[in-house]
């Protein structure tokens, strides 16, 4: 799977890491729902660190579609909340 971290680049990520990503994503949603800013920031960093360590980065010359798009490293709780009110 190809995962894009916004404002950073694309990574090729394997199935094991992906399952872990989904689990962390559920926790991230709980943080968001509870409005737990510290938890949200910690989980967000954990998710991005996982992609960076487990995935291999695609070079800037590669032009491929991503399967999954992750928020940028400096996404705030406030911005995340507005994603769910914005029209897709």
């Amino acid at each position: 799977m190809i995962v894009r971290i916004l404002h950073e680049g694309q990574y090729e990520v394997g199935a094991v890491a992906l399952a872990e990503l989904r689990r962390l994503d559920d926790e991230l949603m709980d943080d968001l729902t509870r409005g737990d800013e510290a938890g949200f920031v910690a989980r967000r960093d954990q998710i991005l660190a996982l992609v960076r360590s487990e995935g291999s980065m695609l070079g800037p010359e590669v032009l491929r579609e991503s399967d999954l798009v992750l928020p940028p490293a400096d996404l705030t709780l406030e911005e995340a909340r507005s994603l769910f009110t914005e029209q897709a």
Binding site: L6, G9, L21, M29, E61, L63, R64, E65, A88
Partner: protein
């Protein structure tokens, strides 16, 4: 739905909205290429904006510092003339300005960080553009084969993603720069008017925090005053 899938859905809808406008796939390639060049210009403009804002804030810092120094020497002169009331007034003004200066270093650092990001964005985009330009001509030449059409679709979507990503980065950077500029302007207006009580209160909404700031500022005034008295006393003895 998780945050990742939500982000993916929103983002992908932005990408396809950007690509849907063109019918002929061969035009899509040229159109995407033009859009990329435009985007690169936007990134560079956004970089220039961040630099301008940072310089403004740095200038503001210098100005505030010279006002702080001015009030400090006024206080000293007043105290030497035996006017403790005037000295206290000058030190109160100094404390209010010092409060305004507190956040400026953080803002300067944040803008510098944005400049670095924009520079990186520009570099990445330039590489993508070069890669796309090369692939575009190859794909166009082979357009009739089914394989080439698939490749074209992939390249365009990959490129569309990059455009949407950089576009989002530029937008967020501009929003931030705009907020900082507005705050810097507010400080300038307050200090120009000399409304220092308001200036002390302005950047903080929380009443508890505001009171704490005021307490801290008046403590600072007392400390400055005793320091000045000690200094002048020491001078007299010499």
């Amino acid at each position: 739905m998780g945050l990742m899938s939500r982000m993916s859905t929103i983002f992908k809808s932005k990408v396809s909205a950007a690509l849907d406008t063109v019918e002929d796939p061969r035009q899509t390639l040229d159109y995407s290429y033009e859009r990329q060049m435009e985007m690169l210009q936007q990134v560079k403009r956004s970089l220039a904006d961040a630099v301008t804002s940072r310089k403004q804030i740095e200038l503001q810092k210098v100005r505030l510092q010279s006002d702080v120094d001015k009030y400090q020497s006024e206080a000293e002169a007043a105290l030497k003339a035996g006017r403790e009331d005037l000295a206290r007034q000058a030190l109160e003004r100094k404390a209010a300005l010092a409060t305004q200066m507190e956040g400026l270093d953080g803002q300067i650092a944040e803008l510098k960080g944005q400049e670095d990001k924009m520079e990186e964005n520009a570099r990445r985009l330039e590489t993508k553009i070069a890669s796309f330009r090369a692939q575009k001509e190859v794909i166009k030449a082979q357009y009739t084969t089914a394989q080439a059409q698939v490749k074209m679709g992939e390249a365009s979507t990959g490129l569309g993603e990059e455009l949407a990503d950089v576009g989002l980065a530029v937008q967020r950077a501009q929003d931030k720069t705009e907020r900082m500029r507005a705050r810097a302007q507010a400080i300038d207006e307050l200090t120009d008017k000399g409304v220092l009580d308001d200036a002390l209160a302005a950047p903080v909404e929380d009443p508890v925090e505001r009171e704490l700031r005021k307490t801290k500022a008046s403590q600072q005034v007392e400390d400055d005053l005793s320091a000045l008295k000690a200094k002048i006393g020491a001078g007299d003895k010499q």
